[in-house]
């Protein structure tokens, strides 16, 4: 209890000190010491409580109710006074405020007082949150000290109000601790409103017209949530006679309307705070605030309070799927819509903001499902997201101070201009979307949990993952492009680097140590029988660790064995200027630089349209949640706990066979492709073994690279492509295979971006567009396979009694469609082509030569065999010769299509691939799940 009180009350001390001190050195030390104390206290709390389990405290606080009431009324008065700058259109803000004050006043004064029994509570969820708030939030505060000094040096027109600024930061932390430790909902509500207040004041810090407008919007939407919260409190006081969170959850699980209604109302408040559709606008507007504020809002405070309260109610949603499912679908929808919206943005902070909303959507979806595995995934997501997003915001802020821009396009070449900062940013981005890093592990667990609850949710996740991949990878491409920018002096202060460095290390460490975190912190929180970690499979965890090890060790290998020989210039149609690297001689003898811009897919969808329709659907789902209330009073039995999948059986024989035979088979396939193509064109064509000669020759060429990173990317591409196939043929987890394949492709794309040649860069852009097109269908392949045999294990799929092609005809056709894209066959050979018909010289591989190109080629062979392995799965129940013949037929058809089709543009590709995935794949999966399974 003392530690708990310390965490809530202690931040007020630095807050008060900082509100009077304006000396930079003193401020630095107050923040450092304060943050250190908080972090130590949080660790101490974790150490004390992890062993003893959940505990409740009811200290005798005299006049607690009265004090809360007085505090709330003061808060409302202050906010009302703050509302004096509103415009006519914002009149609803004070209106909501007054309504809320009225509801609270009526509840407190008009109804008999409700005795508070358990005022504070500590369980593993609150410990996890406290660690995040103390460590990540604390680091953000430390980062803020030098940042704000720079900020005011660069913006002399903004009034220096750093004293209230730092006061608010620490007040924010205090209120967050209050939220996670309060078991008394009245008290929790008070802290809840304080966070809304802090958020409002921090957003309007700059004092510009825009920041004031956005601050009012944030205040208004949060007050709307607050109103729902207040109504929930009123309902509880009137009908349930308790304000204790744990009692409300118990009552809610039992199906009492007295508790269910407030649960939905308070979850609504959580949705507004977590900026879910249709309330996302306030968080987007909040980025007018200085970057530390965004980092704080997005990583450790505010939005996390929203998902925290929804997660607290997850047992209720598990017991009442009719209420939980609309909530889960709202989360899934938010994930899909905001991921797409992020694609349209070039402003780094807006991309980050949309990504925050999207990931919180996943957490909400997990909470709505409520099964132990879903909650496990949600907690991992909350943890990983806090660390990575805190890092990313800080890195973007630091970049902004150097570049005077937060546009991603302007971050081109950061890897040579500011290597350390680019590395921090890359680590943050990797942490957000790629295997083996944190968020992907969370998504993986989400997918498994969603499949057991509702395949529709899993489909939303499948479609939402592709744009996520797209917008992160194109950002990475910008950073990785070696544009020959001069090195920029790093202006970031020590505290900024300590903060970013710690978070970067945490991001990396989190993906190595998450099994430990899971065992110590998360699993005790869940139902005793649940073993979500083992659902991922211990073999798969080793594979993840292997991937992590490879990623970290490979750069070392390149450090110790540097490539000899000079660097080559990028290909610029031969018109390179010798004296100016990276520029070319254009018309009239003038020198030109090449520039590429990312794709924003504005001609496919617009931010406005997405949010409008997403908002309408979101409102509908919220309404459905309320409408489901009356019917859900009779408690429905939760879904039966699904049996754990059998331990994965890795077959070393398959792995070995793949490693040895795949390049042979892949090379022969490539040769057959060339012969068949020649015959179709009335030619004789090369010998069947030609591809092997080509690779042998390439390996013997003495070729240079454009920059030192290229080899690392190529090596990673080849390694992970082989790893993906190896996993597949060893009978491993199909999802992990797809994730590894994605990781490999991202590295190939980076290899294309890195030379900063327009040809490679356009090829890389197009490769990303291709990935965006095929990714949903690949995930649907895994979902469909799971629906058919209840396992993601390839070994289980092969053992299926009935050919999958009959169970999953739609998924099969969809797969054949996207395999065309993946094999780079016309009409979808946008990024590069194995034949001569490519207007981009060689697209993606233009600036690779000699051995590098040979490795890419061999990796393609491995990849193609893997893709045909996917096809083979559908016939695996037949005798081997028949299945192989069917697979060969599919391949021949792909070659035929390659020769019979003209290339389509990327819009048609993405649209058609998504429509096919939706109409054939998704419908197949849904039909299978609703009308019995084979």
């Amino acid at each position: 209890m003392p530690v708990l009180a310390f965490l809530i009350l202690f931040p007020l001390l630095p807050a008060l000190l900082l509100s009077v001190v304006s000396h930079q050195g003193a401020r630095t030390w107050i923040v450092r010491l304060g943050v250190l104390a908080l972090a130590l206290a949080a660790v101490l709390l974790a150490k004390d409580h992890l062993a003893s389990g959940p505990a409740f405290y009811s200290p005798a606080i005299p006049h607690l109710e009265g004090a809360i009431f007085a505090g709330e009324m003061l808060l409302y008065l202050y906010l009302l006074w703050r509302c004096r700058q509103i415009r006519a259109l914002e009149a609803w803000v004070p209106l909501v405020l007054l309504l809320q004050a009225g509801v609270i006043a009526y509840t407190r004064l008009g109804l008999p007082p409700v005795p508070a029994e358990r005022i504070f509570g500590v369980d593993n969820l609150s410990i996890l949150m406290a660690l995040i708030i103390a460590v990540v939030g604390g680091l953000v505060c430390a980062y803020a000290v030098p940042y704000m000094k720079d900020f005011h040096d660069q913006h002399p027109e903004i009034r220096d109000r750093r004293r209230p600024f730092f006061f608010l930061l620490f007040l924010f932390l205090s209120a967050m601790f209050g939220i996670v430790f309060s078991n008394h909902l009245g008290l929790l509500f008070f802290f809840w409103e304080i966070t809304s207040l802090c958020c409002f004041l921090l957003i309007r810090y700059a004092g510009s017209e825009e920041s004031i407008r956005n601050a009012y919007r944030a205040l208004g939407l949060n007050l709307l949530g607050g109103l729902a919260f207040a109504l929930g409190l009123w309902w509880l006081s009137r009908h349930a006679g308790t304000l204790d969170l744990d009692r409300v959850v118990t009552l809610g699980k039992a199906g009492a309307l007295a508790a269910l209604v407030p649960v939905v109302l308070i979850s609504f408040a959580g949705l507004t705070k977590a900026a879910q559709l249709p309330f996302q606008s306030w968080l987007l507007g909040a980025m007018v605030a200085p970057t530390p504020v965004s980092a704080l809002l997005h990583s450790s405070t505010m939005v996390k309070a929203g998902v925290f309260i929804i997660l607290k109610f997850s047992p209720v949603f598990l017991a009442h799927p009719s209420v939980g499912m609309p909530l889960a679908l709202l989360g899934g929808l938010t994930f899909l819509v905001t991921s797409l919206a992020a694609v349209t943005q070039s402003n780094a902070k807006r991309v980050l903001a949309y990504s925050t909303v999207a990931n919180l959507g996943l957490v909400v979806a997990c909470a709505g499902v409520g099964s132990p595995q879903a909650v496990w995934a949600a907690l991992l997501l909350v943890l990983f997201h806090a660390v990575s997003k805190g890092l990313l915001f800080q890195a973007v802020g630091a970049a902004e101070h150097g570049l005077h821009s937060r546009d991603i396009e302007d971050m081109e070449g950061l890897i040579t201009a500011r290597p350390a900062l680019a590395l921090a940013m890359l680590v943050g981005i990797l942490g957000m979307f790629l295997a083996p890093f944190g968020m992907l592990v969370g998504k993986w667990a989400c997918l498994q949990a969603f499949l057991r609850a509702s395949p529709l949710l899993a489909l939303l996740l499948a479609f939402g993952s592709a744009p996520t991949l797209f917008f992160w990878a194109k950002w990475m491409g910008k950073l990785a492009s070696v544009a020959g920018r001069p090195r920029v002096r790093d202006s970031s202060g020590l505290d900024e680097w300590v903060s970013m460095g710690t978070l970067a290390v945490l991001t990396l460490a989190a993906c190595g140590l998450f099994p430990l975190v899971s065992r110590v912190l998360i699993e005790p929180y869940l139902a005793p029988a649940a073993a979500p970690l083992s659902a991922l499979g211990s073999g798969n965890l080793s594979v993840l660790l292997l991937m992590l090890g490879l990623l970290l060790l490979l750069p070392l290998a390149f450090l110790f064995y540097p490539r000899r020989g000079p660097l080559a210039a990028p290909y610029l149609g031969g018109a390179n200027r010798q004296d100016e690297p990276g520029r070319f001689l254009g018309s009239l003898g003038r020198s030109f630089g090449s520039e590429t811009r990312n794709y924003y897919l504005a001609n496919l969808f617009s931010e406005k349209g997405l949010l409008r329709w997403g908002g309408v659907l979101g409102l509908g789902l919220i309404l459905a949640m309320f409408l489901a209330l009356p019917g859900s009073a009779a408690a429905l039995p939760g879904p039966a706990p699904a049996s754990l999948p059998a331990a994965p059986r890795f077959s070393p024989l398959g792995l070995l066979a793949y490693l040895v035979a795949a390049p042979l088979a892949g090379g022969l396939l490539a040769g057959a492709d060339r012969v068949l193509t020649a015959r179709l064109q009335g030619r004789v064509g090369p010998p069947l073994l030609q591809p092997f000669w080509d690779v042998a020759k390439l390996l013997k060429k003495r070729a240079g690279v454009v920059n030192r990173f290229q080899d690392y990317y190529v090596a990673c591409f080849a390694l992970f492509a082989v790893l993906a196939g190896g996993l597949f043929f060893a009978g491993g987890d199909l999802l992990l295979v797809i994730f590894a394949l994605t990781l490999a492709s991202v590295f190939l794309v980076l290899a294309g971006y890195s030379p900063h040649s327009p040809y490679s860069a356009v090829g890389a852009d197009r490769e990303l567009l291709q990935m965006m097109a095929y990714e949903p269908m690949l995930l649907i392949l895994a979902l469909g396979a799971y629906q058919a045999v209840h396992s993601f294990q390839v070994s289980a799929l092969v053992a299926a009694g009935r050919p999958l092609v009959f169970t999953l005809p739609g998924v099969f056709l969809g797969l054949v469609f996207v395999v065309t894209i993946k094999l780079r066959k016309s009409p979808f050979d946008l990024s590069t082509s194995h034949h001569g018909h490519q207007e981009l010289v060689k697209g993606l591989t233009t600036d690779l030569s000699g051995p590098s190109l040979a490795w890419v080629e061999v990796a393609h062979w491995y990849e193609n065999v893997l893709l045909l392995g996917f096809v083979y799965l559908f016939f695996a129940a037949w005798p081997a010769w028949a299945a192989l013949a069917a697979t060969a037929l599919v391949y021949a058809l792909e070659v035929l299509a390659d020769n019979a089709c003209a290339r389509l543009d990327y819009r048609t590709m993405i649209k058609s691939a998504w429509v096919v995935a939706g109409l054939l794949g998704a419908v197949n999966v849904l039909v299978l799940s609703y009308f019995g399974r084979s």
Binding site: A569, P686, G704, G836
Partner: protein
């Protein structure tokens, strides 16, 4: 025969040719001649190419381009000059802006005469270049770049 003669990848550059020879070069790819039978691929990318086919009499404007393309080809590599202009400047040799043939810009290994050069002659030139490639591959790195002329 080594691997280089099994997989000659070609870059074709038009250094101010009248397009007569270019059409003949491209004719080699058609079903009638089908040079892919010998593993020959028209890559269009110096970084992938082993053999540079140049038509036309290199002028002031494209001289640096010819040199850059040649430099960007990884070793071992061979150059085949195709057509009268590429050999000596041809009928353009007295023009104020014309260099007299490709070997005034970069070392040429094989000369294929003709106006325009016939596809058979071009193919023969490439086949002779294969021998040059193998020779250069056998030579230690950095040596044996160009210089040796083989008349076709």
């Amino acid at each position: 025969m080594g691997v280089f003669s099994k997989s000659p990848w070609i870059l074709h550059y038009d250094a101010s040719s009248c397009n007569g020879c270019d059409i003949e070069v491209l004719a080699c790819l058609t079903p009638l001649y089908d040079v892919e039978r010998f593993g020959i691929v028209n890559t269009g990318n110096p970084k992938h190419a082993d053999i540079l086919l140049i038509t036309g009499a290199v002028n002031e404007q494209n001289l640096p381009v010819v040199r850059t393309l040649y430099d960007q080809m990884p070793s071992p590599k061979a150059v085949v000059a195709i057509g009268a202009c590429a050999l000596s400047g041809g009928i353009f040799q007295d023009c104020y802006n014309v260099h007299r043939g490709v070997d005034s810009a970069i070392p040429v290994d094989v000369y294929v005469p003709g106006c325009a050069a016939r596809p058979e002659a071009i193919i023969d030139g490439v086949v002779q270049a294969l021998g040059v490639l193998e020779e250069k591959a056998a030579a230690p790195a950095g040596r044996g770049e160009g210089g040796k002329a083989v008349a076709a």
